[in-house]
């Protein structure tokens, strides 16, 4: 078994194609993930489409409860239990539908070809094991590496994430490290098996600005070197501006606008996108900050029309009865809004 995996790993780490060339690395089509609870069906992910190519990073932006983390977990097929279920759609990864994989096959993919970094590094590292053990585990499980080879690779990974004194650090425990160091270790574990897709869920939220800047730069460097496809989930458009090539804005389980990053910043067409952007404290320092009145709708009792209607400044009658779907308004720029003209 290990031989086949080794080969697979070797195949993946071959010469990278030009970024963005060829078929998408990940293509998500009409994905629906609902959570069945006593009070009903929470439509956490409600018909989401997006794609990511190699060497490209996609930002998924929205408030808490917009379904952005749930989208990532659906791709990984680690669903909230009890009650979480994918009820429709396709997740095509390197041409194969992940929803048709068995649990065992998914285990071979997770942490290997698709890696994930979460917000809380202290929770994602095991406090009772040295970081060396935790670095070697995926190498042993997925690539069949053993002993010295695994150790060498672990050290190489720590050097790669620019951790000082890797030979000593590999024997230390998570509690002996600072938040920034732990974040690097989590990054090293994630890229250990040379994944082709990296999912990052608010990886820098709790970090100091200096450490955040270090870490974002590191992720971009790794992405360039290994031609990774990356999905970055965040509530902060500032992070998108810094690291993402494309953006999808999510609201109430749906994508309401998607475009290339620069295009979206220059021409946000959905009222939610521009509202979220104007919330940034670094924008328009002389004016009062714009806020978004109200709060996101209950995903178990979604209104029939547009989910944003109650908070929208440009709401029409139609918005309350009929949900708009994503429509292309410019090449690569799609919006789900009945009043796109009003944005201009």
């Amino acid at each position: 078994m290990s031989g086949a995996l080794d080969q697979a790993a070797a195949g993946r780490s071959g010469t990278p194609a030009a970024p963005g060339a060829g078929a998408p690395l990940l293509e998500v089509k009409d994905l629906r993930m609902h959570i069945f609870v006593r009070r009903g069906e929470v439509k956490a992910v409600d018909g989401v489409n997006f794609s990511v190519r190699r060497g490209e990073s996609l930002g998924i932006v929205g408030e808490s409860g917009s379904g952005k983390s749930m989208t990532l977990l659906s791709v990984m097929q680690v669903l909230p239990q009890p009650g979480g279920r994918i009820v429709g759609g396709q997740i095509l990864f390197e041409g194969e539908d992940l929803l048709r994989k068995t649990a065992r096959q998914m285990r071979d993919i997770r942490g290997n070809r698709i890696a994930m970094i979460t917000q809380d590094t202290l929770a994602s590292l095991n406090p009772a094991l040295t970081i060396g053990v935790q670095l070697r585990e995926p190498l042993e499980v997925h690539l069949g590496m053993r002993g010295k080879a695994a150790n060498e690779r672990a050290l190489e990974l720590l050097r790669h994430v620019q951790l000082s004194d890797p030979a000593r650090q590999i024997r230390s425990y998570p509690h002996e490290m600072s938040g920034g160091m732990r974040q690097r270790v989590v990054g090293a574990i994630a890229i250990g098996c040379k994944p082709s897709l990296l999912l990052a869920d608010e990886p820098t939220t709790a970090l100091d600005v200096t450490v955040q800047a270090q870490y974002l730069r590191l992720l971009r460097e790794i992405q360039k070197e290994t031609d990774l496809g990356m999905i970055f989930v965040t509530h902060d458009f500032g992070i998108v501006a810094k690291v993402c090539d494309h953006v999808a804005v999510m609201y109430a389980g749906r994508i309401v606008e998607t475009a290339a990053t620069r295009e979206l910043f220059d021409r946000p067409l959905h009222p939610y996108s521009s509202a979220l952007m104007d919330c940034l404290p670094q924008r328009n320092l002389d004016a009062r900050l714009r806020t978004i009145p109200g709060h996101p709708p209950d995903l178990a009792q979604l209104p029939p029309g547009c989910g944003f209607a109650d908070r929208c400044s440009r709401v029409h009658e139609r918005c309350r009865t009929e949900a708009p779907s994503l429509a292309e308004v410019a090449p690569g720029h799609k919006v789900a809004c009945w009043d796109v003209e009003g944005a201009a």
Binding site: E63, S64, Q162, S164, S178, G179, G180, M181, D208, V209, T210, V211, Q212, A213, Q214, R217, H235, D236, F237, G238, I239, A241, K242, T261, R262, F265, A275, L276, M277, D278, C279, L280, P281, Q282, R283, L285, D286, R288, L289, R290, T291, I292, H295
Partner: protein, 359 residues
Amino acid sequence: MSDQAMAGMAGATDALPLIEAHGLRKHFPILRGLFRRQTGTVKAVDGVDFVIHPGETLGLVGESGCGKTTVAKMVLRLEVPSEGAVTFRGGDIAKLRGDDLRRYRRGVQAVLQDPYTALNPRLTVGRTVSEPLTETQKGIAKSEVNERVAEALTSVGLLPRIAKDYPHELSGGQRQRVEVARAIITRPECIVLDEPVSAADVSIRAEIINLLQDVQATLGVSYLLISHDLAVVQRMCHRIAVMYLGKFVEVGPAREVATGALHPYTQVLLSNALPSHPDDAGEEIILTGEVPSPRNVPPGCPFHPRCPIAAPICREVVPVLSAEGVGHEVACHLVERGGRNAAAAGGAPRAGAASEAGR
């Protein structure tokens, strides 16, 4: 904000300071072994001076571990300074007892970081909000407490009937508002804000920033704002103090520090802040390494091991704060008079600045 900043500054000059810190130090002993021998000292705060005027916001910026929260705790009299003093309207707060202390507690309140843990889930909003009042003003009439709770909730934009609710019934933004209501119920003159928005979603963050500014405009309260987010600090503060390993490295008017930072550390922080547009992502100065531990402060300038422009003198001589403009002070050997950074200007580091160095 410039008008507001100006107003704040103008108001600041003709009023007596509300809170002053003189040579504030906090050293924690490191105790080891059976006999708790002292094996070292953590210099959490190592000699800072500042003034907060009525109605003014002073921002304290720095990385985790730089000592900013310890400063806040000393202002709140939750920690006793090892050296130096905090004064409130001229009187040393360490000497306050009994009624005077309770009066101080009413006068200086706090809003802390995490709205989810800061509220007791078993107390109603009304109980939570009224606590600072009932604790510092014993024997206050029930009817007056209820009135004050309603008044505080109204001034943070909540309906008074929310007083009967429990925290779990509130949204994140409402919880933050409840915290602010609790801080203003005693009609304080100063509120210590310790990372009040760093855990919040962007939309809630914006709401709270606006709310805090409104509260200041209507009540004239002063803020000591602690944050690692320069954008928030720049937006809310009249003056900013940048802290590194227990010391201030740059202090000045907010706008001036944010646009014309002189200390290399401030410049790093600014260059690392998140952009508001992809085109604003300017040249980044990436620091290598971690913040050194305050138990082992490097000799000379504490920032020199990470400083992108460190010169030989920085390894030996501790720089002191010196004036570089009106109310703008910098502790760096390499800053030239007239407010230019030697390296930024392309010049060689100026060794002559050594004359004013020393502890």
